[in-house]
């Protein structure tokens, strides 16, 4: 070739200059020297510095139940924290694989947990930005030949530095149509999940049985995901706690005589078809608010603060589940 010095950016050198023609700039911080082997690090201090506990506590306070999910997220937080301390001693360990799959019934908090997770991973320094990009099949798969790859890549680029949350991921693969472009999106996804693990975390979410058949037809996907987290259905008392939490946030309270009615409502609603856990609870409360407002207007008298915030039994009893 030539006798010119190689440029630091030549692609053949894999992005890093083999022989930089100039000394590194003086302003660049040198990597800190590893701690001596007999040094001691206060883990509690390290934990406080990362501010991870704020996210974990918020997770505990704002999400009812979901014990297995919370346990797993705490474990991940602990691992990342310990890895950070290990790195300070100069112990080399591979970056953990944090691609995840959330399975569970509708309304069990998969999206909510994903948002918290992005925040947590950012605080622990695993990802650089901590934003969540939530997509579905539509955002990844194109409509004609050659449309899918740029579309998927654009979404992946947008998610870099954060978490890519693919809701109802099993729609990506359509077994009945082998020419479906979804397969192309999956291949690109797999490639990025493998090669650019530093840049983004992929979270797949969906219903348990359909995710299982999705993984059965895409074994490569299943093995690249380290954490399969199952979101259990809420128990009746958890649903009730969720309802109270939602109402408190909206500025409503249940009258004492409404409590058994609300419990009864949840029990009846739970066994009906298309019950979507927390989402159904939210909808029930929304409808109760409508009836509450209507009742106040129909009475057309003076109202006080208590009347404006208290939900009475008839607000729930009018629901069709009591028919």
């Amino acid at each position: 070739m030539s006798d010119r010095p190689g440029f630091g950016m030549r692609p053949s050198e894999n992005g890093s200059p083999a022989a930089p023609p100039q000394a590194p700039a003086a302003g660049e911080p040198a990597p800190p020297a590893p701690l001596p082997p007999d040094a001691r690090v206060d883990l509690a201090q390290e934990r406080a510095d990362s501010h991870a506990d704020e996210v974990l506590d918020a997770l505990d306070a704002e999400l009812v139940g979901l014990a297995p999910v919370k346990t797993r997220i705490r474990e991940i937080a602990a691992l990342l924290l310990v890895d950070r301390v290990r790195a300070r001693f100069g112990i080399d360990s591979a970056r953990p694989n944090l691609h995840m799959c959330f399975t569970g019934s509708p309304g069990t908090g998969k999206t909510t947990v994903a948002v918290r997770l992005a925040e947590l991973l950012h605080r622990l320094g695993y990802i650089r930005k901590g934003h969540l990009v939530s997509v579905t099949r539509d955002d990844l798969v194109g409509q004609y030949v050659g449309h899918t790859a740029p579309k998927t890549k654009e979404v992946l680029k947008r998610a870099m530095g954060g978490v890519l949350f693919i809701d109802e991921a099993y729609y990506l693969y359509r077994a009945e149509n082998e020419r479906d472009y979804g397969q192309e999106a999956i291949e690109i996804l797999l490639q990025v999940m493998e090669n650019q693990r530093d840049d983004l975390v992929v979270v797949l979410a969906g219903y348990k049985d359909r995710m299982d058949s999705f993984f059965a037809s895409n074994p490569g996907m299943s093995s690249r995901i380290a954490h399969h987290i199952d979101f259990p259905d809420y128990k009746p008392d958890e649903l009730e706690a969720i309802g109270h939490l939602m109402m408190r946030r909206e500025g409503y309270v249940l009258a004492p005589q409404t409590e058994p009615v609300f419990r009864d409502y949840l029990d009846r609603r739970r066994v009906q078809p298309r019950f979507a856990n927390a989402r159904s609870v939210r909808n029930a409360i929304e409808r109760a608010r409508l009836r509450h407002a209507n009742r106040l207007l129909a009475a057309a008298g003076e109202v006080d603060r208590a009347a404006l915030t208290t939900l009475e039994p008839e607000d729930f009893l009018a629901s069709r589940v009591f028919l």
Partner: protein, 142 residues
Amino acid sequence: MRITQGTFSYLPELTDDEITKQIAYALDQGWPCSVEFTDDPHPRNAYWDMWGLPMFDLADPAGVLYEVKECRKAYPNHYVRLNAYDAHYGRQTTALQFIVQRPPVEPGFRLDREETSDRRIRYTLHSYATDRPEGERYGDAR
């Protein structure tokens, strides 16, 4: 002859880490980045070929650097540059633009003199690279 154009033109070549920092700065300012390439080094060649569409809504430099690397892979002997466009009303122009790859050998320019009427002389810059057809100028037969 080393072509200088855009921001940082008189600095040594930026490393990928330095490019990442510049991209991060551009993204923090809210400037979408795009990648362009060409093999015509003439200074008045303002319209380079686009490598994909400008990248909007990115939060992290990794996505832009990925496209820079893809472009280098596809055109290892072309000039590649990175643009950051400031779309804010009142500016609406390229805010930052620098070369992120150049061919290993840059043959440079010669000065052409053309005699015209009344013994006047017109001067023009001629790039040696453009003597060869597009795509074969820097040794890669694409």
